[in-house]
Symmetry: C2
Subunit: 396 residues, 2 copies
Amino acid sequence: MSQYRIFNHDDAIAYVRQAAQLDSAVVLQGEEIGDGNLNQVFKVWQPGQAKGFIVKQALPYIRCIGESWPLTRDRARIEAEILLYHGQHCPEYTVAVLHHDAELSTILLEDLSDLQVWRQALLNGQHVAGVSEKLGVYLAQVHVHSSDFQLDYHAQRTAQLRFANPELMAISEAVYFVDPFCDHERNNVAPEIRLEAEQLWADQALKTRVARLKHDFRCKGQALLHGDLHTGSVMVGAGKLKVIDAEFGGYGPMGFDLGVIIAHLLLNFCAQPASRQQPQRIKDVQALWRSYKIQFFQQASQGADSSLAEPEVIGAFLRQVWQDALGYAGCEMIRRTIGVAHVADIDTIADPIQKAASQRQALALGRTLIMNADQLNDAQLEHTALNIALKESFKP
Amino acid sequence: MSQYRIFNHDDAIAYVRQAAQLDSAVVLQGEEIGDGNLNQVFKVWQPGQAKGFIVKQALPYIRCIGESWPLTRDRARIEAEILLYHGQHCPEYTVAVLHHDAELSTILLEDLSDLQVWRQALLNGQHVAGVSEKLGVYLAQVHVHSSDFQLDYHAQRTAQLRFANPELMAISEAVYFVDPFCDHERNNVAPEIRLEAEQLWADQALKTRVARLKHDFRCKGQALLHGDLHTGSVMVGAGKLKVIDAEFGGYGPMGFDLGVIIAHLLLNFCAQPASRQQPQRIKDVQALWRSYKIQFFQQASQGADSSLAEPEVIGAFLRQVWQDALGYAGCEMIRRTIGVAHVADIDTIADPIQKAASQRQALALGRTLIMNADQLNDAQLEHTALNIALKESFKP
């Protein structure tokens, strides 16, 4: 099975049979269930059983674009290794990798079809209790245990080399920090907010801050990030939570992961003004951060490096992580509004006036987070978000 | 010649003959001239000729300690590659690598015996004009050209991997940021300043700042550092300057290189109160920084990344580099006073009272730089240094 080929569902079934060591007598069914962004995804199951297996296979190009945009298949190996590393330090909240094959660029994953995508729950206006708290625990666990709080120089440098992911993180660098802050052909700017986009592109104070965040994204190799922790990478339900899709992972600033998930909560906030769910999104952000802080403190204060395990050191460190997180949250809100990839939360708003108002809110709040990252604590964030929502909603 | 063995001077001669492609009829003499820290160093020359060649060979252990402290010979390859990279971007001020052999762990270098070690000139009270300015140019060149101002994501990540130097940089981490800030057995604390050392070890505010500098030393991979730029790594004379000894190099924060050289100028300052040379040292620091800033600005504003090439971005970036530099300068001053390795500038002071006063100054100034890094500009540094010198000189 070791020569690479693009799987059809029979290949996926054969791969599962071998990788999961199932007897040849076991009947298996398979279908492609990928939502068609980067990879192929198959579900393979025994008829009559609720749960099966998931096979994720990387193609040598970006699936939704085609062969004209080649992309390393090695991302499957990198993703598998990141998930295994995260799973080692946070098994409860990391999807289980059952097998992976570097040559076939496949990962065999546990089937999570009893859970739902968190973004979908949010779009349905459904509150799933405890998600933010669990995500805070997950992030603190995987961050601390891949950082200098736990690893000595050699171990951390080795991990930084092993998890180097230059092709995919270069894409992140471009789509987060370059394209949305200039009139780039990859951008996707609705005509209704073209003026606001142009104001951002001319805003040198903002661009100076973004340049710093961009620099830090590349050079601040603090921890093994998930790298793409939006609400679509989180599966929830029945008191469970599993994080999936780590192909954009690699070493980077801890605040990046936090910022991305905070941004998606705030994008959802901007998408539903005056709904009952709106205040809950701010509470989610606060709960996430508080849970992260508590778990981080606990893990870091038992860390292997005694010079870092001091409360004052951890406290000062966390203040910087929060500031970084707000900056990255701002970038993510802006790039998901005027960059190449948007979010369903806003894109599915039917009323064009309402949609433009949500987009304006997202841009304004994103900009404020970037500019005021060093002045906003998690309580003030609420006030700021509500103020901006109010102001932007009443614009012509 | 490719099997590793520890060279005697005949081996060094044979190596030079081959590597420099000298005819077998050419008569060569050789002698070991290493000052006995990490490596063997041979000078090989033709009788009657003023200049010859330098052969530097890494031993599989730390020379001055012996086989009980093994150390990778790969450091010779890493050093050669760093010097070549630096030489590519600043040939005027980087010692020329003529040949290197990874298996023999040798580097063939140009002979700089027409120059003198800068530290020696400083110890002799000799002012060599233009050294600080040249060093500023050197550092700005090698920093900018190995940073995101010039390299795209892939090129910089590749360089970070290629120049990874975990064994030697782990030593730096320990001797700069761990040992001097606790009562470590490797420390070398004069009885006269034991009290001051103990005060530092109990100073949690200081240790919190040092923990941050330690974290950044490991995680802030901004540029390909020299990694050990003290005044003994700089050869000067006759209007020339050459930087040598890059085996502690690797990716790290730009402020580290600046901080180390600033610290050695300030250690010399502390060593000679009331001499005519003392005010010159502060001027040297200021000239170094101003030269660095100008060169950095010029190179960065023509950089490949247009989002970083903006004056506001470069200015904000340089402010952070300066703050980092002061922090690292403070660590270096402290570790060179109470850590394992001291500096001749202070250690050669014959009068024990004067020596202790110089050491106290170095500790106090080092602490001030770390604590006030975000408040001191290069002009205020002068005032601060003179104030501390005055205060510590009159202590009992």
